[in-house]
């Protein structure tokens, strides 16, 4: 497995832990369907939150938030619809969040959580 995928996996695990610390309940991780994958699905009070996680080891090639494009968010929105279709019992408001993680090798990890980005 490539190093970047390892970093991504580690970032998603870190993001889930971060959300649990913030009082969210994790409903799903790496939920897949034919259209793609949602990194984290969580429950925040009465909202279902779909989270796109982007991890980078440094900001030498730009901030991770800058790498979350409109197209990516539009895909997350479509996937959110698909997830709701698969879980007909859950009827709640939905929200799309982005979490940027800067995880330098051996250094402290920085989180940035931006709510309702789309």
């Amino acid at each position: 497995m490539a190093a970047k995928d390892d970093l991504g996996k580690r970032g998603e695990a870190l993001a889930a832990a971060f959300l649990v610390d913030a009082g969210y309940d994790i409903l799903d991780r790496n939920w897949r369907c034919r259209q793609g994958e949602i990194d984290v699905v969580a429950l925040d009070g009465d909202e279902t939150v779909f989270v796109e996680v982007k991890t980078r080891s440094s900001i030498a090639f730009g901030h991770p938030l800058e790498a979350i494009t409109m197209q990516k968010l539009a895909r997350v929105r479509r996937l959110a619809g698909a997830w709701c279709g698969e879980h007909p019992g859950i009827r709640r408001r939905i929200r799309i969040d982005a979490i940027a993680i800067i995880a330098p090798p051996g250094g402290p990890v920085q989180f940035e959580h931006v709510r309702s980005v789309f």
Binding site: H63, L65, E66, L73, V114, R115
Partner: protein
């Protein structure tokens, strides 16, 4: 609240309006939106400002930045807003003192390395800011000396965005950079042009003195090589220095045209001599988007010389009728009207016919009569109507050349003193009226109770009027010239002799 604001100036012609630049940082994915009717060059400010901020070490927030230029309905052009946009964003992020940024007007274009580039039209911008009540303006170092010409405004010249941010209390380490400067103004070559270079042609020399003293427009008709261009080029030299308001206006137009202004206002009247292939837009000004001043606006308070006048397109010449009439130029576009000053002295020069030899003593004209008539008919009647002095210039002969060596020739400095004295006399005489020069006085006033001359004085032109040799309009123009001649001679009122000489100055083509 993550909001930063500052001001800049949008120019329309020579009139400037204060534009408020607001920056908002919203908690959203990184992005940069610029709104408020920017044109293409201003829309590119997004990329310039971001690159400049990154390369200079003032990082922008990784959030969505919205910059609004208000009033949004006012069209804004060019790159002069870069500095204001960058500082409004830094103020919104509280990286610099927001109060300090809000109280200063910022002008300047950013380079990708974060250095500030000088912009055109800084002088009218600062004037507008000063009139709107601004006390401090921040400009690129390359514009600082020009900006300092406006009294009552504190000018801060900065070389880079970093320097500007530090000035506003940003905690950054200063990095000295080499400021981008403009080319220094060239020394004008006009000083070499002296009236004493002209041999013979005493009539013409007397005529340009009259033109200078009274502000009269002039038409020189003569064969090639008669010295028409030489005469016209020496007219600005004998005009008096510009007064404070005129100097500011001339400097503003220069600044707007992108010509260097330097550390002092332009005090000598300008000379503009466009080529006869010039278009109407290049003479009166125009252009899509940014409306630029043309040659007529650059010649404001100076001389607009059109050599080979009949070769100009008719539309170009007739476009000059509005500034000749009103003293300013309006350029209308779908979304705006720009005004430029256009109080120039017009000098037209023409050959008498296409081959140029008609009327010359030493050579034969080869043009047919109809070709000759058509040639001068290209100058429209309404245009010629506004020209007081119409003079024939003859080629000099070898005899006059030899004689001229012995005669004392007049030089520019002497003539300028005479012109200044004559203008002072005119201004004193007309002090109770709205006019300052004889060329501005309307005919009815000249014939009215304030300036009426006795029948014995005006006998010669009265007779010409009766015979139909002079129209009523021509009659007024002779009166105007006679007053200028009297002012030049230091006389209280024109005499019959002055009227005779005035009549002679109109004899180039029949009136």
């Amino acid at each position: 609240m993550p909001l930063g604001r500052t001001s800049a100036v949008a120019l329309l012609g020579l009139t400037g309006a204060i534009v408020e630049v607001e920056a908002d940082i919203s908690s959203n994915l990184p992005g940069f939106v610029l709104i408020g009717l920017p044109d293409a060059a201003l829309g590119e400010a997004r990329d310039r400002v971001r690159a400049a901020a990154t390369n200079t070490g003032c990082e922008f927030p990784t959030r969505k930045v919205t910059v609004n230029l208000s009033p949004a309905a006012l069209p804004k052009h060019g790159s002069g807003f870069d500095l204001a946009i960058a500082l409004a964003i830094l103020a919104a992020d509280r990286l610099v003192n927001a109060g300090s940024v809000a109280s200063v007007v910022h002008l300047g274009e950013l380079g990708l390395d974060g250095r500030l580039r000088p912009i055109n039209g800084i002088l009218p911008c600062i004037l507008a800011a000063s009139r709107a009540g601004a006390t401090t303006v921040m400009v690129p170092t390359g514009n600082a000396d020009e900006a300092a010409l406006v009294p009552g405004v504190r000018v801060v010249g900065v070389a880079s965005l970093l320097e500007a941010a530090i000035w506003h209390g940003g905690e950054y380490t200063p990095v000295p950079v080499e400021p981008i400067l403009r080319a220094a103004p060239e020394e004008s070559a006009d000083d070499d042009l002296d009236l004493s270079d002209i041999i013979g042609n005493e009539d013409a020399i007397a005529a340009i003195q009259v033109a200078a003293a009274g502000g009269h427009h002039m038409f020189l008709l003569g064969p090639p090589g008669a010295g028409k261009t030489m005469l016209a080029a020496r007219l600005p030299g004998i005009l008096p220095d510009l007064d404070a308001d005129a100097a500011l206006e001339v400097s503003c137009v220069r600044s707007l045209s992108g010509l260097p202004v330097g550390a002092s206002l332009v005090t000598r009247p300008p000379l503009e001599a466009p080529h006869h292939t010039a278009t109407a837009a290049s003479i009166v000004g125009g252009g899509s988007g940014v409306i630029r001043p043309g040659a007529a606006a650059r010649a404001n308070h100076g001389v607009l010389f059109l050599d080979e006048a009949p070769e100009f397109q008719r539309a170009v010449l007739d476009a000059l009728r509005q500034p000749l009439e009103s003293g300013f130029i309006s350029i209308h576009r779908a979304n705006s009207v720009a005004h430029f000053p256009g109080r120039f002295q017009l000098v037209l020069a023409a050959n008498p016919c296409p081959c140029g030899q008609y009327g010359a003593r030493d050579s034969e004209c080869v043009c047919g009569p109809s070709a000759r008539r058509r040639y001068l008919a290209r100058l429209s009647g309404p245009l010629l109507d506004r020209i007081d002095i119409q003079l024939r210039v003859a080629r000099i002969t070898s005899a006059t050349m030899r004689m001229a060596d012995e005669n004392q020739r007049v030089d520019t400095a002497t003539v300028r003193r005479r012109v200044v004295a004559a203008r002072a006399a005119t201004a004193e005489r007309l002090s109770a009226t709205p006019w300052a020069l004889n060329s501005q006085v309307p005919g009815p006033w000249l014939r009215g109770p304030h300036a009426r001359l006795g029948p014995s004085t005006t006998a010669s032109i009265d007779r010409a009027l009766e015979r139909g040799g002079l129209t009523m309009r021509g009659y007024d123009r002779v009166l105007r010239l006679a007053w200028t001649l009297a002012d030049l001679d230091g006389a209280q009122r024109p005499t019959a002799d002055h009227l005779g000489r005035a009549l002679y100055l109109r004899k180039a083509i029949s009136s």
